[in-house]
């Protein structure tokens, strides 16, 4: 039996209200509703498997986005796709998560970020879904995941260069297959890996202030208030030959992955992000609380947060 949960939450147009606008609250622990007739036909352990699927055995997702308190446009994009298979056969939990933060006036930024997110997801899914849904004992042709992510980023870059030549965007993608995490990234939208006792920034910003910090010229605190803190040296849409950071990691069980734009990390300090995540009962309330915290700190930019927690 296949239950594939596909979500496409893409480039949501937000009301220009100062209060955080978040997607309608969902119960993150909601199980797939079973009709009484179907439940009666299923053996008891099948019902158990399905309820497991709906709770701690399934990856849990949270998303929140807000235009912030200063800007009139939302140039951020978030995109989420997830897939599960339960029954006789199993498939590792699948998730694709994208955050992009566009730049360029006259709506160029939002066009660039939307196009980049859509393209990177299309190219990735086209190549991975057939392998994901194939019989693992029969399917031996397996594309290299890092290579796919790199191709997808390159395709997103080409799309932006061709269609929105004056615009640009950051692009941070997380592909999760079971515990295997592939992160691909350009710009300064970030990925954090958070466990009960660790907080790690898993991406490295392609920004001037990041380089200055690495050279010991300025401190992390100085970087946050540096007049040129928004200067990137690498972004999607910059030209051909984009260099992409791609890394593979293993997510420890129970760990959370947070993707966010600089509208969040630029305003909410790391320790506050960690505390907010730890105090939240699930990824959805965590993302909502993070967006509220960024607005409370001034909301000077668009704010996007995507969080996924893997089963413990």
């Amino acid at each position: 039996m296949l239950n594939s949960i596909l979500e496409k939450l893409f480039g949501k147009k937000k009301a220009e209200a100062p209060a955080p606008v978040v997607p309608p609250p969902r119960d993150p622990d909601a199980t797939i509703p079973l009709s009484p007739q179907l439940a009666a036909q299923l053996p008891p352990d099948a019902i158990k498997a399905l309820s497991d699927l709906g709770s701690s055995k399934r990856m849990r997702i949270g998303i929140a986005q807000d235009v912030g308190r200063v800007r009139s446009h939302n140039e951020d994009v978030l995109l989420v796709f997830t897939g599960e298979l339960a029954g006789l056969e199993t498939m590792p939990s699948f998730g694709l998560f994208v955050v992009a933060d566009g730049m360029g006036g006259h709506s160029l930024g939002e066009r660039a970020s939307s196009l980049a997110a859509r393209t990177v997801a299309r190219v990735t899914l086209e190549q991975i879904l057939p392998s994901l849904l194939a019989d693992p004992q029969l399917e031996a042709e397996r594309p290299a995941l890092q290579e796919i992510m790199e191709q997808a980023m390159t395709a997103a870059n080409a799309a932006v260069v061709n269609s929105v030549p004056e615009g640009g965007t950051t692009l941070t993608c997380a592909l999760l297959i079971g515990e295997q995490l592939i992160l691909s990234h350009v710009g300064d939208s970030r990925a954090y890996i958070i466990t009960d006792d660790t907080f790690e920034q898993a991406t490295r910003d392609h920004s001037l202030v990041q380089r200055l910090q690495e050279l010991g010229q300025i401190t992390a605190a100085e970087a946050l208030v540096h007049p040129q803190r928004s200067v990137l040296y690498r972004a999607v849409g910059q030209g051909e030959g984009l260099e992409v950071d791609v890394v593979s990691r293993r997510l420890p069980s129970g760990a959370s992955l947070l993707l966010c734009s600089d509208g969040l990390w630029g305003l909410v300090p790391d320790d506050k992000i960690l505390r907010t995540v730890q105090q939240a009962s699930n990824p959805q309330t965590a993302c909502e609380a993070l967006v509220s915290a960024a607005n409370a700190a001034g909301g000077s930019d668009n704010i996007t947060a995507v969080m996924v927690q893997v089963p413990s």
């Binding site: 730049m103 360029g104 295997q180 200055l212 300025i218 990691r249």
Partner: protein
């Protein structure tokens, strides 16, 4: 290639983009300057080409720089005062490489600076027209001129003048091939904080400038960055900022001399105190380069160089050490080639040879303890379980031999020569055979538990996790099976898999004859990354922290970052590296077809030492208690100091 104009353009997040020029062709400024065209558009305003109408009988051209000042009235007044003060300073300057200032004035929210018009091309535009590199001599000549003008500016009294914006596009080449410095930093105080995310950095500015520090040594850094760009054709605005040390000049342009590269590296030190102390010292360094090339310097230094050379010859270490070669602790001679790896246990070295014998040799002295004869060559390596050794033979059998006595305990027949190495786990010996099966054999009885079929000969040593066995075959298929022999997943490489899989941090790393190294997730078989070498990978990987090490028939030993799947370093030998590396205390050891064993620094891939045997080495080294044991096709087993 990137288009520079696009990168350097700022893209304002808030919708602010650089506007068009505010003055049109034909406009008359101050009843005097007739605008004839736009020379450039910058963040502060435009630069125009204009004709000075006070000289009606001659065409006197000027460059008019416009600075748009949109600050609030109080601030505006301060900015205008700063502008006028700086314009006064510039107007006093008198140097052939600095354009003359004719006039300056403020009109409403715009200030204008009128200066000498220079007919020519800036160095960035010039560089972009070239297909080849600019010759080193030419760049040095310009650099010497730029040192002169920087000396003049930095020597200005009472305060030194810091140019702050040295870059190819601010250097004009006039009709006489002389350097002219344009675009003085007069407009820079007008720059307020940038709004929104921008793409592209200044590229040439020193790190300390971003802390608000500007001194003469900052101009020296920017000149170094400029020379780097001119010589390498790599635009620093599209490279990671301050990445010059990662991109030395000669890497992009090997024609540049070591000496000039060294001068540029000094200019580009992150720490200002490590650069040249002033433009004069830098000019001296450049001039001595030029002298060296014309031979003047060589003659001057020749008498001094002689005694130094003689002294070093006396003190020179003996030849073997100079070539990095070492001598063995002991050598044990067999009757045929050694292809497999040794196993060291309780002070004894066990190794199979192509002379059909399985040898036990005292690890301390290299003395024979026993030998066990099979009916075929022994290309593989042994495994050990509770004082019993297991080794495959081309006589189609797996042999179980007592480690103490060398007496046979049992043998197990397959349907083909056994060229693979065994793995012991969960009470079974797992061994591949050229009969295209992986056999699971009871470790005590030597009876078959099951066999799993493959699409080709199985010649690797399988890897084992808590619940799975991993192995590849010469048909290119790779299998993950459980302890009952049931298949969990498969993977197909383009060519055979002779390399033994390495299970490390949840991934399986395996090389293929197709030239790739694959990282496969152990649980699911997903191909996380693949790393391309230029020839077959028969070598098996070794791991340490975040790196795996593996050899290739392209003659190289590679270090690969396991997170990125990218090369961290490679070490080139003079023959195929089919031997498998081993890691011990921050050193990687590997053999090569060139006959040598190499000890390579794990951090940077630099050679520590090498040992030359009498024939190619395909055997893999084993290190125990700081002694390296390795076999060679010269029939010898060597013990070397690690």
């Amino acid at each position: 290639m990137f288009e520079t104009h696009k990168i350097t353009k700022s893209i304002g997040k808030g919708g602010q983009t650089v506007g068009e020029s505010s003055l049109k062709v034909g406009a008359l400024l101050q009843d005097r300057f007739l605008i004839q065209g736009v020379l450039g558009v910058g963040g502060m305003g435009s630069v125009y080409k204009a004709r000075d109408m006070r000289f009606p009988n001659v065409t006197k051209l000027v460059a008019v720089k416009e600075i748009i000042n949109q600050a609030d009235p109080g601030m505006r007044e301060m900015i205008v005062k700063t502008f006028e003060r700086e314009a006064n300073i510039l107007a006093e300057l008198n140097h052939p490489a600095i354009p003359k200032i004719y006039d300056y004035f403020t009109q409403g929210d715009k200030s204008f600076l009128v200066q000498e018009f220079i007919e020519g091309k800036d160095l960035e535009a010039y560089l972009n027209t070239l297909a080849d590199f600019i010759p080193e001599e030419q760049v040095v000549e310009w650099a010497v001129q730029l040192c002169d003008v920087l000396s003049y500016l930095h020597g200005h009294k009472p305060e030194p003048i810091i140019f702050r914006d040295m870059k190819p596009s601010n250097i004009m080449l006039d009709a006489h091939n002389n350097i002219r410095l344009i675009d003085f930093g007069i407009a820079r105080p007008f720059m307020t904080g940038q709004k929104g995310t921008m793409i592209g950095t200044e590229g040439y500015s020193p790190p300390e400038q971003y802390r608000g520090e500007a001194g003469p040594t900052g101009d020296i850094y920017a000149l170094g960055a400029t020379l780097h760009h001119l010589l390498t054709k790599q635009d620093p605005r599209i490279e990671p900022p301050f990445s010059f040390s990662e991109r030395p000049v000669r890497k992009a342009n090997p024609a540049v001399s070591l000496e000039l590269e060294a001068v540029i590296n000094t200019m580009l030190n992150y720490n200002p105190s490590e650069r040249f102390p002033g433009a004069k010292a830098m000019k001296d360094a450049l001039l001595s380069l030029r002298r060296a090339r014309t031979g003047v310097l060589t003659q001057q230094l020749a008498p001094a160089a002689k005694p130094a050379g003689a002294a070093s010859a006396v003190a020179a270490p003996p030849a073997p050490a100079a070539s990095g070669e070492v001598a063995p602790i002991w050598v044990f001679k067999c009757e045929d080639e050694l292809r497999g790896s040794p196993l060291i246990h309780k002070g004894v070295v066990y190794i199979g040879a192509y002379d059909n014998n399985f040898y036990a040799v005292n690890a301390a002295q290299g003395k024979l303890m026993w030998k066990y004869a099979t009916d075929g060559g022994l290309p593989g390596s042994p495994a050990l379980h509770q004082d019993t050794l297991f080794i495959g033979s081309e006589d189609k059998r797996l042999h179980a031999v007592s480690a103490k006595s060398g007496r046979v305990q049992w043998t197990y027949y397959t349907d083909g020569p056994v060229r693979a190495s065994p793995r012991v786990a969960e009470g079974h010996v797992f061994i591949g055979s050229d009969d295209e099966n992986l056999h699971a054999v009871n470790v005590l009885t030597g009876r078959k538990a099951w066999k799993a079929s493959a699409t080709g000969a199985v010649r690797c040593r399988p890897a084992v996790s808590n619940d799975m066995i991993f192995f590849g075959c010469e048909g290119g298929e790779f299998y993950a099976i459980d302890f009952g022999g049931a298949q969990k997943w498969r993977f197909k490489a383009k060519r055979g898999l002779t390399s033994s899989p390495l299970l490390y941090n949840g991934n399986v790393y395996v090389g293929s004859i197709d030239g790739q190294v694959y990282a496969l997730e152990a649980k699911t078989g997903w191909n996380v990354w693949k790393f391309r070498t230029n020839k077959a990978v028969i070598s098996s990987a070794a791991a340490d922290e975040n790196q795996v090490f593996i050899g290739s028939a392209d003659n190289c030993l590679y270090a690969i970052d396991i997170r990125t799947g990218r090369e961290t370093w490679k070490f080139e030998t003079e023959g195929q590296v089919n031997s498998s590396p081993t890691v011990n205390k921050s050193v990687v050891y590997v053999g090569s077809i060139d006959g040598c064993v190499y000890a390579v620094d794990i951090a940077n891939g630099k050679l520590r030492w090498k040992f030359r045997s009498g024939a190619p080495i395909t055997s893999s080294p084993v290190v125990v208690d700081d002694i390296v044991y390795i076999g060679s096709l010269d029939h010898n087993l060597y013990a070397l100091t690690a």
